[in-house]
Amino acid sequence: MEKQLFTISVYTENNPGLLNRIATIFLKRHINIESLNVSQSEIENVHRFTIAARMTEVAVKKLVGQIEKQIEVIKAYYHTDDEIIFHETALYKIASNLLFDKREIQNIIKNSHASIVTVNPEFFVIEKTGFRKETQELYNQLAPYGIMQFVRTGRISVSKTEMKISEQLKNL
């Protein structure tokens, strides 16, 4: 069975130590986490981990089973890319003089539908949200001019079909 990228969504109680427990489940199986995002979810006091990792479907099924077994995990799901709407956000910090000296940069920004978050005399910051391919492409275009800093968030996603988490919580 082929390895593919899965997005694992984990709804949890907000307790310190849980990140450690979840990370250990990946570590124990030598599965590298490609990206990880933790945020609040649509339910009050419930947190949501969004973890992207590459493995076989057999492996992800077992992995999700082990994650769900954790006492403070309410529910865990896994999805392939075509089952979710997902995005990442990247920030690019660039020297301000380039914006004025190199007209091409203005075009790159315009064509990429990126937005400028801040501009000051020393640097400006561009933000681009989209697929990995898109944020990477912008990176590739800007790199020759010199990027002072670059950072990309973990993937965030919502599933196309319903995850029956709220219903489950109501039953408790």
Binding site: T12, G17, R21, K61, G65, Q66, I71, E72, V73, I74
Partner: protein
Amino acid sequence: MENKTERIIGAEAVVRSLLEEGADLAYGYPGGAIMPIYDELYKYQEKLHHVLTRHEQGAIHAAQGFARVTGKVGVALATSGPGATNLITGIADAQIDSTPLVCITGQVASHLLGTDAFQETDVISISAPVTKWNIQVTKSQDIPAAIAKAFYIAKSGRPGPVLIDITKDAQLGELDYSYEKCTAVRSYKPVPETDIEKVKEAAELINAAKKPFIVFGQGVILGEAEAELKALIEKSGIPSAWTVLGLSALPTEHPLNVGMVGMHGHYGPNKLTNECDLLIAIGMRFDDRVTGNLETYAKQAKVVHFDIDPAEIDKNVKTDVAVLGNSKDTLSKILPFIDEKSHDAWFDEFKKYRDIENEAVINPQLNPTKEGLTMGEVINQVNKETNGDAVVVSDVGQHQMFTVRYADFTTTRSNVTSGGLGTMGFALPAAIGAKMGAPEREVVTFIGDGGYQMTCQELGTILQTKAAVKIVVLNNEYLGMVRQWQQLFFDKRYASTTMINPDFIKLAEAYDIKARKVVKREELAEAVKEMIASDESYFLEVMIEKEDNVFPMVPTGASVSDVRLK
């Protein structure tokens, strides 16, 4: 219910919470960061008996032994730092063998956390992978709820160990104490719902099978489903085998009990795993020691898997029908759908293999003609004296496999051994806990000369508590199991497996324990008789043929049907 509160300190709240949970026995070892709790244990000593072991590992294994024979939650206490880390082996053991434990560790005061204070370790991180749940408590007020939750989680669903780490300031600070038992945790579903359709599907497969085979594990014991299992086996007429931890759930003498599966299991059950047309797994997890090579494991058979833990389904063996739920519940639900049957021709195949095994392995083991004593004949001699009614605690290694193969059982919860983790040093302290959990019963522990020396300091606990544990050291002056593998797979290069042992008799006598050594077969029966007749703890050392091996054997990576008789 009205909750009146009282103003007490955290340490007293710990002790009173334990009492609320019915824990009147705890094993542990004091130290700086847990002294306030010990001070309260002193005040409450009439109500809560604390057993001082000689090492924290002894404390936790004793708590495990207690939990395994009683089904109650075992309690272990230790101080911060080394006290806490010394619990880890036992916690890992309890996690893999699903043993309910509540471990309470002292921790440095909360203002010192993260400063590398004296005896500070991050026991929450260290224990996370091997606990069912753990929590650090830094506020006195949080103590009762944490303990209530800990007991609930440890005992419910698939049991396991939990750890509560309590900072010293939380132990010393005051709180408004009231106690409320925990009955639910919203993110935790201990028992999955049983789908009655799956029960019916499983029943159809069972009724249609020509060569069905049951393999049961500890899930039967943990679910208190021994009677339901027996009823299912008898109604369906299905030959049934057990895993190491399933042992004692069905009496040895039951006519449909065909023996043990796995690496050193019986010949027929291993061979016929690859001939059955339906494998019915009940409360077991297809451990690699059970399955051998998964690629060739029961490929011809359909598989029905009863388990309480959804994560076990399809983990190692692909299941055709999974019946989730507590074993007592699922087995009683399926019984009405099961046709009354017998499978005589199929059962005869087990008998045929048993005859082969009797001749090649079992008879030479139980009635040896050679000079040296065998482990099997010692265990069998104990069977004769106890009629199979004893709690039998084994350590890890060759003697463990001989024990589970040859010890007789009439009663459930009587086989205590470290199955999943294979922790040498487990048996002596576990036997102490088992004896305290079942004081009216005979508790006999078989230990190898290697494992014995890992925790023999617990003879001190026997000296102090007078726990009447009967200790049998089967001494072959080797780390026998490793030596067996060296003989079979490493051209007899006995690297670091030869043991120069101390005088075990003197050692036992130093702890005021009656001791006797057997070197000749003629002495064995009388010595075992004397040991069992003793009202006190008794130490029996039996010198065993040095290079005996445990057979049958499924070598690592081999198929179960390639089980070797020699």
